[in-house]
Amino acid sequence: MAITFNQVSYEYDANSMWSQAALQGVNLHLESGILAGVAGATGSGKSTLLQMFNGILKPTSGTVQVLDITLKGGEKAPKLHQLRKRVGLVFQFPEQQLFEDTVEKDLCFGPINFGYSLEEAKDRARRAMEQMGLDLSLLSRNPFQLSGGQMRKVAIASVLTMDPEILVLDEPTATLDPVSRAELIQLLHRLCREDGRTVIIVTHRMDELLPFANQWIVLHEGLTVFQGTVKALIEQADRMESYGITIPQSIRYWRSLSEKFGWSEEDPCLSAEAMSKRIAHLVNSEDV
């Protein structure tokens, strides 16, 4: 089990009279090596949850277990150095954190800080570039002269240089154009599928993640109101609207089709390609 939350609550300014609960009794189980999507309206606690995954925020009460490290509310936290290395966090608009004058220096900053030699750091930088599908010739470029999509990928690569077992991203595709968005999601999917990393993505756009995510978590006002597979999510789609979540078109179409043609036991086909193949099968199989 990569991550387990047991009755986790978090309050901002916990000891003052202005304390504000951001998470209230969250339960969560995420296996290693999956790709999970986290959805929820603005203010539902997504960003708070995310910052608990590598101990930036510690639970006010309850137990957070990430890999083999346990954080208990009200107790002194263990040393978090290892956890920070093993869980990579990518915040919103990560390109705003770029600061060096070359891409390579920017990528080496993390590894060197964690005590690696310059050689090792450069090696890790190159590997991370490849993982994000970036050309190595960009290493000597100034990061601020790259396109928006490239900057975003470099920023994510800078987290990958630490070779984290768990990668958590807060709206990684925001403001990118649709083609760059799809490309980035595919790269992240590959990090999960080929390298066996656990990838957790917070998103406002469920549709782009639907064909790839094995697990979904839906937050509403600091509570996990849903955790499960896409199939389970589809069954409960009606509830999602009340949590301020827009039901993706692909789910609407699949639901309607499966009700009409009795496909509800099947694995959902949510990409246009998969869905049309299923429809073609329906229409053509009865040709004969």
Binding site: D177, V179, R252, L257
Partner: protein, 305 residues
């Protein structure tokens, strides 16, 4: 706003036909708000960013401008109000040729909203920020007060007037930026990727503002965007590629042209993607407006046999 309120864009298949009017029509609804003839522009000598573009946008139309990054979209709209000095060709705004003695009037007629509202704030409060543009137009205090209040109300930011811009959320900032522009009462409003920094919900809010503006009939809207919903809601799409105007269509036509979509880095709404894929599998149905229409179209194909 809920999804189902939006899934039926107002497609107007004949929108493009009404644009081919001659330039000597008497001003009235539908007369050209903007006309470009043979407009070219380059930052360097051999690098044309805008290459021989001619087009006409009638008053009141809602036009989307699309294209991959670096294709010249922002350059083109900046030429329209002389934020970039003119290269070759002629630009007419509301029947007036753009030249040094008309720039003042033309800039008054065109308002622009940019991607990042932060770059547009100058006032210490929201109210001051709106007033700044009005002071520039030398309006009386009474008129300014009236404008601030009425546009703040229209955009739902009345309770924010005393706040510092940094206290606002991204969506609120964009509303304030729009209120500042609309309070100057421009007839043409250009949105340059105004929705790309916004999250799903505030993006819907912006879409509603655009729709309301369009329905009021007072504005000619030109919007640069990648957002499929926003494109679908507009009347006409102009596609730029490497500085050239390569297509001028309705959103419905655009979303069915895979080649143009790819060239302009766009992805069609799901219903279009599905229909295109179905055609490849030999299932011939027309684009459904909603999921019910799809199942109804498929039912006879399925049950006849």
């Amino acid at each position: 706003m809920k999804q189902h309120d939006l899934k039926e864009p107002h497609y107007t298949p004949d929108a493009t036909e009404s644009t081919s009017q001659s330039s000597d029509v008497i001003p009235g609804p539908g007369y050209p708000a903007i006309e470009l003839v043979g407009v070219s522009y380059g930052y360097g000598k051999d690098l044309p960013v805008i290459d021989d573009i001619s087009l006409s946008i009638p008053q009141g139309q809602w036009v989307t401008l699309v294209g991959a990054n670096g294709c010249g979209k922002s350059t083109l709209v900046k030429l329209m109000n002389a934020l970039l000095s003119k290269g070759e060709g002629s630009i007419m705004v509301k029947g007036k040729e753009l030249q040094s003695d008309t720039i003042g009037d033309i800039r008054k007629a065109i308002g622009m909203v940019f991607q990042n509202p932060d770059n547009q704030f100058i006032g210490a409060t929201v109210e001051e920020d709106i007033v700044f543009g009005l002071e520039g137009q030398c309006l009386s205090i009474e008129v300014m007060e009236e404008r601030v209040n009425s546009y703040a109300e229209k955009l739902g930011i009345t309770e924010l007037l005393d706040k510092h811009p940094s206290e606002l959320s991204g969506g609120q900032k964009q509303r304030v930026a729009i209120a500042s522009i609309l309070s100057m009462e421009p007839e043409i409003v250009i949105f340059d990727e105004a929705s790309s920094m916004l999250d799903e919900r505030t993006r819907n809010d912006l879409l509603n503002i655009l729709s309301d503006m369009h329905k009021s009939g007072r504005y000619t809207i030109i919007s640069i965007t990648h957002d499929a919903q926003e494109i679908a809601a507009s009347e006409r799409v102009l596609v730029l590629h490497e500085g050239k105007l390569i297509a001028d269509r309705t959103p419905t036509d655009l979303f069915q042209d895979e080649k143009i979509l790819e060239m302009s880095h766009l992805i069609a709404p799901f219903a279009f993607q599905l229909t295109t894929a179905l055609h490849r599998y030999g299932v011939d149905i027309s684009i459904p407006n909603c999921e019910k229409e799809l199942t109804e179209a498929l039912w006879p194909l399925h049950s006849i046999k």
